[in-house]
């Protein structure tokens, strides 16, 4: 816990000033290799119904279910406290559907708190940045940053379904803790399965020159799980994780916030365009209201770069639908249609929304009924890249997913250090 009491910050201005000063101090400590307090972390969360995020009372009710209290500083900024942890940080409604929790808590404490909040609440979900989305964001970094600036990418792929592991390492979504920096490696069990987790730190220009070639040679490098936006106002940058956590390693909190806003605007646009395109429903024919109905929507297709083996396919289906704790957080009864084909008229077990899936050794087709949150799609893509095929490509209808991310990004202008 920081020894500064956040409750003394009375308004947004004081809060921003505090975090700016706090950030500068931490960076000085970091450069001197004497970090005394945790860095500022932000956790981006999607509030399932955008109307709820706009309504502070509903937002308070969502957090109260988890034993947390929100105290309003203004219409969109709240102090978050918790009975057991005390002060957690500040929550800001960044966009109608997205909130950010800014916190100076230690990473492990904050991650645990957020995980319990999200897992226990179908109204909240992480912001899911898949490897495909990071791929497009990387292009923006390369375009906007000087080539001699340093960036940091982490790639995470773990073929957990190559073996039949009855107990996942942790409950559901694993913390994207990044690369292990040590620990007792001697005592670890030898498990022969493909697992890639490593970080790459280099100049933007060098990464840009080599990344595509490296990815083509070794597909796990498509599974980008963390990425640093170099700060345009000084050293360091902003580390975005695939579950919407962002660590501020820059000298400015304002710059940190503006990077959050930039990515969140893209993400919100992506959510909207995914839903507009993918949602299936029966609609009235406009020309003859009340008479004729037609089916509208577009399937989501995820195509694997490498065909799954029978064994991996079987473990995937078994682990996902026969065990309560599973990475994909899906519910349903698979209808077996062949050795490597099942249909599941199921449910997204986190958001509790329907989802119809065809799962095969070469890919996955999803039908998203009207009202099912676009986040379901982005979580599915993220998990498939992470646990099944890092080089998987996705489409919504006949449009490539990456094209949708690019189009979403093109509507947002990059304005560092501005609100």
């Amino acid at each position: 816990m920081p020894d500064v009491e956040l409750k003394h910050l009375k308004n947004r201005h004081e809060m921003i000033r505090f975090f700016d000063g706090y950030t500068t101090e931490r960076m000085e400590e970091l450069y001197a290799e004497k970090l005394k307090r945790p860095l500022v972390k932000s956790q981006l969360l999607e509030v399932l119904d955008g109307k709820q995020a706009r309504n502070s009372r509903t937002l308070q009710a969502i957090f109260e279910q988890h034993g947390a209290q929100l105290r309003a500083l203004d219409e969109s900024m709240f102090l978050v406290t918790d009975n057991s942890q005390g002060e957690i940080g500040f929550l800001e409604v960044l966009r109608p559907r997205i909130v950010a929790l800014y916190s100076p808590l230690r990473s492990d404490v904050l991650c645990k708190w957020v995980r319990e909040l999200v897992m226990g609440n179908p109204e909240l979900d992480y912001v899911w940045l898949s490897g495909l989305t990071f791929g497009v964001l990387w292009e923006l970094i390369a375009q906007l940053s000087r080539p001699n600036r340093f960036s940091r990418l982490v790639f995470t792929h773990d073929s957990i379904f190559e073996i039949d592991n009855p107990e996942p390492d942790s409950d559901d979504e694993e913390e994207p803790g990044g690369v292990s920096d040590g620990g007792d490696e001697d005592s670890k069990e030898i498990v022969e399965r493909r697992a890639t987790t490593f970080r790459l730190v280099d100049r933007v220009g060098v990464i840009q020159e080599k990344l595509l070639t490296l990815q083509q040679v070794y597909s796990p490098l498509y599974a980008i799980s963390q990425m640093r936006f170099p700060s345009p106002v000084g050293r360091g940058g902003h580390d975005f994780y695939d579950n919407g956590r962002v660590t501020n390693r820059s000298e400015s909190f304002r710059d940190h916030r503006s990077h959050l806003l930039f990515v969140v605007r893209i993400y919100e646009q992506l959510l909207q365009s995914t839903e507009q395109r993918a949602w299936y429903s029966i609609q009235e024919s406009v020309r003859v209201p009340g008479q004729f109905r037609k089916i509208v929507g577009a399937p989501v297709t995820i195509r694997f770069r490498e065909q799954l083996t029978q064994q991996v396919f079987d473990h995937w289906i078994k682990a996902t639908f026969e065990r309560k704790r599973n990475r994909f957080r899906l519910w349903g009864h698979p209808l077996r249609l062949g050795p490597t084909k099942v249909h599941v008229y199921g449910v997204d077990r986190h958001l509790w929304q329907p989802l119809f899936l065809e799962l095969t050794a070469i890919g996955c087709t999803a039908i998203i009924p009207n009202g099912t949150c676009g986040n379901t799609v982005h979580r599915l893509v993220t998990n498939i890249q992470r646990f099944l095929d890092p080089g998987a490509v996705a489409f919504v209808g006949d449009k490539p997913y990456t094209q949708m991310v690019k189009e979403s990004a093109s509507t947002v202008h990059y304005e560092p250090t501005k609100d």
Binding site: Y280, V288, P299, G332, H333, L335, L337, G346
Partner: protein, 300 residues
């Protein structure tokens, strides 16, 4: 589960979902080739009730020709730019000119005529071309061609207008489902006549895609096993709706689930459109029977 492929291509519900998938936007290289989407055709209406113009009903009566006053093709496809409409009907097999199905076919032939715009409730200028197409197993093509030819002649002889018709044949091999277009369909859909591979699948695998419409009590299924499987799909979707409602509630909570609401959820809202009240009753009865069985066996 791996049904006989020949059985599946003669199942009207498979055919209906197959037709819907042909209009879905899918990327190049998918296991399903959406032929009609690629030619810019989309679904205009599912199972619309089309009324035969009254003067034509009177004329048919006077000529002692049986015509259903209204008929519901399974799907109406449209090409917005070219102002084309295809009335598509799925059938397990051909039928004779004296069967009750022939009465329905006469209605379709009349409604796809020069009166199609009126039947669709559109201006004449909004409909440039109309086609009646039957989707049947390829083995039924010759017989159906003969029947439709006879029905067209019969109507024409009595001065009743008729539209063009075509037959879309479905054939299954061990690894693909093929759609076979005759010349009329080829011209209408701007595709080549002959065979088009539409669904590719692994051997020993059921080729069916995900079903948009999982069940229809009015359909005569290709087999009891097929009917059971479709019912299973429906109940999986209903079960999902119940799980969704329970999962989203904050306990303790009282959840009100109605058969109509659940059936509509499971059918993308199609249940509300079924005009046959008997079918609707059958569906609600099935749900209650299933619930009773589940309760008796202690299933969760």
């Amino acid at each position: 589960m791996s049904p006989q492929k020949t059985e599946l291509v003669s199942d009207p519900l498979f055919q209906l979902n197959f037709l819907l998938w042909l209009t879905q936007p899918l990327p190049e290289g998918s296991s399903i080739t959406p032929l009609f989407f690629q030619r810019n055709f989309s679904v205009y209406a599912i199972s619309p009730a089309l009324v035969v113009p009254l003067d034509l009903q009177v004329a048919a009566q006077q000529a002692q020709i049986k015509v259903q006053p209204s008929a519901k093709p399974d799907v109406v496809l449209t090409h917005d730019v070219e102002r084309k409409f295809a009335f598509s009907e799925c059938k397990a097999s051909s039928f004779g000119p004296d069967s009750t199905t022939a009465d329905q076919a006469r209605s379709f032939l009349v409604t796809t005529s020069s009166r199609a715009a009126e039947v669709l409730g559109l201006d004449a200028a909004q409909v440039r071309e109309c086609l009646l197409d039957y989707l049947v197993p390829e083995s039924q093509r010759a017989l159906l061609l003969q029947t439709l030819g006879e029905l067209t002649s019969q109507l024409s002889q009595h001065g009743l207008p008729t539209g063009n018709f075509s037959i879309l044949g479905l054939q299954a091999t061990n690894v693909e489902i093929v759609l076979i277009l005759d010349e009329a369909a080829a011209v209408f859909f701007s595709l080549s006549a002959g065979s088009h591979s539409v669904i590719k699948f692994q051997p020993d695998t059921d080729p069916r895609p995900l079903y948009f419409i999982p069940y229809d009590p009015d359909v005569t299924y290709a087999s009891d096993a097929e009917k059971l499987f479709c019912k299973r799909m429906l109940f999986e979707r209903i079960h999902g709706s119940v799980v969704v409602a329970a999962g989203r509630s904050t306990v303790p909570a009282e959840i009100v689930l109605t058969p109509n609401g659940l059936l509509n959820d499971a059918m993308f809202g199609m249940y509300a459109l079924w005009e046959s009240r008997e079918s609707a009753r059958h569906m609600r009865g099935s749900m209650q029977a299933d619930h009773a069985r589940s309760s008796a066996s202690g299933e969760q």
